[in-house]
């Protein structure tokens, strides 16, 4: 009896296994992980794309090279379509959507808030499955991955209307992967009730005994945008070496590291850098009570000062460069079902042609810059005068993992 049962068991196990494998391979053929080869199965775009819109998305390449389209044309076309879907990493898009719907009645906008890296996964999987849901993408970079994995693959498409281009500051006019509606960056914050002026003018100041155990940062392992700053220092290690010389008068001596960028990170650790979970934790640490400590946080956080009871200010000029931009890029999604409305909404967020539209207001804030020469910033320093490194997507993408490895090895 026992042995018979055993035979039975293995037979059944076999059958199960075969069934399971069949089941798996059946699905395996339909969904591949990598390429953007999105076969447009006619049967797939059922859920969100009204049939009427299919006509308008035939020309998805036109988004990249905008012809002269008037607002009126776009509005007329947009009204025919359904709801405009926006995927955004920032709630600023929600605020812009509210004024947009007042300005252009008849167009409804829905904003989904998603983190930048999750948005990449979501859009990739959707598009590979033949679902083209979002129209507008507002996203931050993830160490160049947005450029390498989304823009280059044609999943996110740059849109900068020609008539706007002349007033857009570089690098966002021609060099960057897209137009950024606002630019923030990671920089050093200090407590204004302790210091009457910025206590740090050179990044190497943080490695001196004056700041031993007094430097905080949000964890770059869980917030890649913080790692991007350190990675940029590694990429531009010559700048870091020059700044070292300017500060200490001698050439930099490397202690088992590859270049001045890594050496800076190492010396930060040796000087007792304290890692906290997030940007808010850092600002709580230095801004709540009077404190001599300084910390790395996002420039835009300065606008939360009053609400959180902080007395903090960002430093806007540090040698060799203050920081690397963290840009809120605007894209049109590949095969956007409501392309006209998408363009109209992007124009609205950009502040329209003359840069005075209310759609821009959520983006033009303390600590965040709109890179348009005709828009007056709320900050003391204009965007062109900010001393920033270039965000080099390709280099960052390929260097970031090494810097992360270095960080993990030396700080855990």
């Amino acid at each position: 009896m026992q042995t018979r049962l055993h035979k039975n068991k293995s037979l059944l196990a076999m059958i199960m296994l075969i069934c399971a494998i069949m089941l798996m391979t059946a699905c395996g053929t339909t969904s591949k992980d990598e390429p953007a080869s999105t076969e447009s199965n006619a049967s797939t775009d059922t859920t969100t794309t009204p049939a009427a819109d299919n006509a308008s998305n035939g020309s998805d390449t036109s988004a990249a090279t905008p012809a002269a389209e008037t607002v009126e044309d776009l509005y007329a076309k947009a009204k025919e379509g359904g709801k405009l879907i926006v995927y955004s990493t920032s709630g600023r898009a929600n605020d812009a959507a509210e004024t947009f719907m007042k300005q252009y009645p008849g167009i409804e906008v829905e904003v989904s808030k998603v983190k930048s890296d999750e948005m990449m996964d979501k859009v990739t999987k959707e598009q590979d499955a033949g679902q083209f849901n979002p129209d507008v993408i507002l996203t931050k970079e993830v160490s160049g991955a947005v450029y390498e994995e989304m823009v280059k693959q044609g999943r996110y498409i740059k849109y900068l209307p020609e008539e706007f281009a002349e007033v857009v500051d570089e690098p966002y006019r021609t060099q960057a992967e897209a137009y950024a509606n606002y630019v923030e960056f990671r920089t050093i914050f200090y407590n204004t009730s302790t210091y009457s002026q910025a206590p740090v003018t050179n990044w190497w100041d943080l490695t001196t005994p004056a700041f031993k155990g007094k430097v905080y940062t949000a964890d770059p392992l869980s917030s890649p945008a913080f790692m991007d700053l350190f990675t940029t220092m590694v990429i531009n290690s010559d700048d870091m070496a020059a700044a070292y010389k300017a500060k200490f008068g001698t050439d930099i001596e490397l202690h088992g590291t590859d270049n001045a960028g890594y050496e800076f990170i190492k010396q930060l650790f040796d000087n007792g850098l304290i890692v906290l979970k997030g940007s808010d934790d850092v600002l709580d640490a230095i801004g709540k009570a009077s404190s001599e400590a300084v910390g790395l946080a996002v420039s835009g956080d300065v606008s939360k000062n009053e609400e959180n009871g902080w007395t903090i200010a960002p430093i806007l000029d540090i040698q060799p460069k203050t920081s690397v931009p963290d840009s809120g890029y605007l894209f049109i999604a590949n095969k956007a079902p409501h392309e006209a409305a998408a363009k109209l909404f992007i124009r609205w967020m950009m502040g329209e042609k003359d840069g005075t539209g209310a759609g821009m207001e959520p983006f033009n804030k303390l600590g965040s810059w709109v890179p348009r020469s005709d828009v007056k910033t709320k900050n003391d320093v204009a965007f062109e005068s900010l001393n920033l490194w270039l965000f080099d997507g390709e280099k960052l993408y390929n260097t970031a993992p090494q810097v992360r490895d270095f960080w993990i090895k030396h700080n855990s």
Binding site: M24, C27, E34, K113, G130, L221, S222, A289
Partner: protein, 595 residues
């Protein structure tokens, strides 16, 4: 041959087992296989890591990098030691807390049982970061700056780093948060145990310790082991608490490393790390099966009614009750009330009466507050989000509880066969798959119709499906722990009487497992109302939920608005709890406590 197979399949346990395994294959094994397969192939992304990368081809690089490279120590071995030690410590501490409480409530004559049982659920209602935040408020030292900790400012004691951050607080806060699982599982087992067994032993002269060791302990053993594995798995896979409390002292666990890999878009590395977690917990389950499998199983629920006598606590009766209530009020009620108060405070940290406001609940747009954000009840998508949340949590919790019971039935009734073991093992994996990975795979799986399954992506159904799947580890464990105590003879009697399997299930098993069903329902309902990581990828504007709404508020730094939503969620859960007690005729306190 075919005949024998036919007979084998005629056994409803086998039939259901096979059906379940099919379902689990699609919803769990298949996603896991996809995760496994990514770890053996180069992807385009990997060119970032090494020039050797050859997209599409086989490689062992990813496993080597994690397990045997110069990175391994910092990336894997050190974090895994932390994960394991936290996992075991949290399980042990929760066991002491949960079992102790369950024993007091179920087996003694302690007063205030209803209050205590109610309080026991509250820590789980709160997001786990709240307890960690509370810990920091009390015990942080000068290291992380800001407002000094209460210990420091009141008593001028600067605690060492090892108390303020890292291992100790992580273990303590997680244990307080999760010990409710032990309480409910072990409590249910204790309450269905016939106290005549103890009395019989006591009559024959066995000392109390012997009774505990030889009778009580073996009987609740399956529940304790289930609880142990559940908590262990939850602990090694949780991210929020270790991230907050571990960061200042560079205390990394596999879960925090995994989160980092994911956010840095090193997806394959994240997959390897989560697979190691899965392997570990499969190993634990295997050992558990060995332990339980070797024992005779003890049936405590028979057709006969059982009398219950409670252990008198004597003069300790009141002190014990007071200490318990005070401790639970401090860990549960106080944080809850502080949150509630904060949702009415215009400015944070200002405790004057004039600072109280309804603005964050019902206020209109005021440009001076939160840049004009309206109160939660005026948020245009609040109603939709509320309806979605209730629908998802309600449907998912009912289905998950029943499915858990059915699968638990398969697991216990075919405990010795491969079928039961397979269901047991497989149903456990979802806790260890990072919610984001599972969701990402589900997008591709359900974006277009496959076989007979329609395209579910973008619908609420998919959110319900993934919630049920993610909660399977708990519901199946609860189901099998409770099934294990129910004798076959009841079913056999009904079978002889001509009842079909379905009738037997409905008329015998469901009623007898009511307590466990209700607690499973309640815990799944709570988790579903709180769930965020899991569904954030699958949510579309039409399927927005209360938690995705908090995500928007939190990003903007609108702390009070987040608290308002949290309060609404908690209020809903409390109402549901009361309803379950009233109309489900399955009072948790009564169920566990006996009258």
């Amino acid at each position: 041959m075919t005949n024998r197979m036919y007979n084998w399949l005629r056994n409803p346990v086998h039939l259901i087992g096979i059906a379940a395994l099919f379902l689990l294959s699609y919803t769990i094994i298949w996603p896991v296989m996809r995760i496994v397969s990514t770890t053996f192939f180069w992807r385009q992304q990997d060119t970032r890591l090494t020039a050797e990368a050859d997209p599409g081809h086989f490689t062992l690089y990813h496993w080597e990098r994690v397990l045997a490279s110069d990175m391994s120590y910092s990336l894997f071995y050190k974090p895994i030691m932390h994960s394991l030690s936290v996992g075991f410590a949290v399980s042990a501490l929760s066991m002491v807390l949960g079992c102790g409480l369950a024993w007091l409530v179920v087996r003694t004559n302690m007063p205030l049982k209803k209050t205590i049982t109610f309080l026991a659920v509250i820590p789980y209602l709160l997001p786990s970061w709240i307890l960690s935040q509370a810990w920091l408020t009390f015990f942080k030292n000068g290291k992380i700056g800001g407002t000094p900790g209460i210990m420091q400012s009141l008593f001028h004691i600067s605690l060492p780093d090892s108390i303020s951050y890292g291992f100790v607080p992580i273990v303590i806060t997680m244990s307080i948060h999760d010990s409710v699982f032990f309480f409910l599982l072990v409590g249910a087992a204790l309450s269905s145990m016939n106290s005549q067994l103890e009395e019989a032993a006591s009559v024959t002269g066995a000392p109390r310790l012997t009774i505990l060791r030889r009778i009580v302990f073996p009987l609740v053993m399956p529940s304790i082991l289930s609880g142990f594995i559940l908590i262990f798995t939850k602990a090694i896979s949780s991210y929020g608490v270790p991230a907050l409390l571990g960061a200042p002292v560079n205390f990394h666990m596999i879960s925090t490393m995994l989160y980092s890999s994911m956010r840095s878009r090193l997806t394959t590395e994240a997959n390897v790390l989560s697979l190691t977690l899965m392997l570990i917990s499969m190993l634990t389950i295997y050992m558990n099966q060995r332990v339980i499998g070797r024992r005779r199983s003890f049936v405590t629920v028979t057709g006969k009614d059982s009398a219950k006598t409670l252990t008198p606590l004597g003069r300790w009766k009141h002190p014990v009750a007071i200490v318990t209530v005070v401790a639970m009020t401090l860990t549960a009620l106080v944080p809850l009330l502080i949150l509630l108060l904060q949702s009415f405070m215009l400015k944070e940290g200002n405790y004057s009466l004039s600072n109280l406001t309804m603005h964050y609940w019902t206020g209109g747009s005021d440009p001076g507050i939160n840049t004009g954000e309206k109160g939660v009840l005026h948020n245009p998508i609040f109603k939709l989000a509320l309806r979605n949340s209730l629908y998802i949590a309600g449907v998912a919790a009912v289905l998950a509880a029943v499915i858990g019971l059915v699968l638990g039935y398969v697991v216990t009734r075919s405990k010795q066969s491969w079928l039961g073991r397979a269901v047991d093992q497989v149903s456990f994996l979802p806790y260890l798959m990072p919610g984001i990975s599972l969701a990402a795979i589900y997008i591709s799986m359900f974006a277009k119709p496959t076989l007979f399954i329609p395209a579910l992506y973008g619908t609420i159904t998919l959110l319900i499906v993934i919630t049920i799947v993610k909660e399977l580890p708990f519901t199946v464990k609860a189901g099998s722990a409770s099934m294990m105590q129910i004798g076959r003879e009841l079913e056999e009697a009904a079978q002889i009487g001509g009842a079909s399997w379905f009738t037997r299930f409905r008329r015998i098993l469901l009623p007898l497992n009511r307590k466990s069903l209700v607690s499973a329902f309640l815990l799944v309902f709570i988790s579903a109302m709180k769930e965020m990581e899991l569904i954030i990828l699958l949510v579309t504007p039409r399927t927005e939920t209360l938690t995705t709404l908090t995500f928007y508020y939190a990003e903007k730094g609108y702390e009070q608005l987040t608290n308002v939503i949290l309060m609404i969620i908690i209020a809903i859960v409390i109402v549901v709890y009361i309803f379950a007690v009233r109309f489900g005729k399955a009072d948790l306190t009564q169920g566990i406590g006996g009258q």
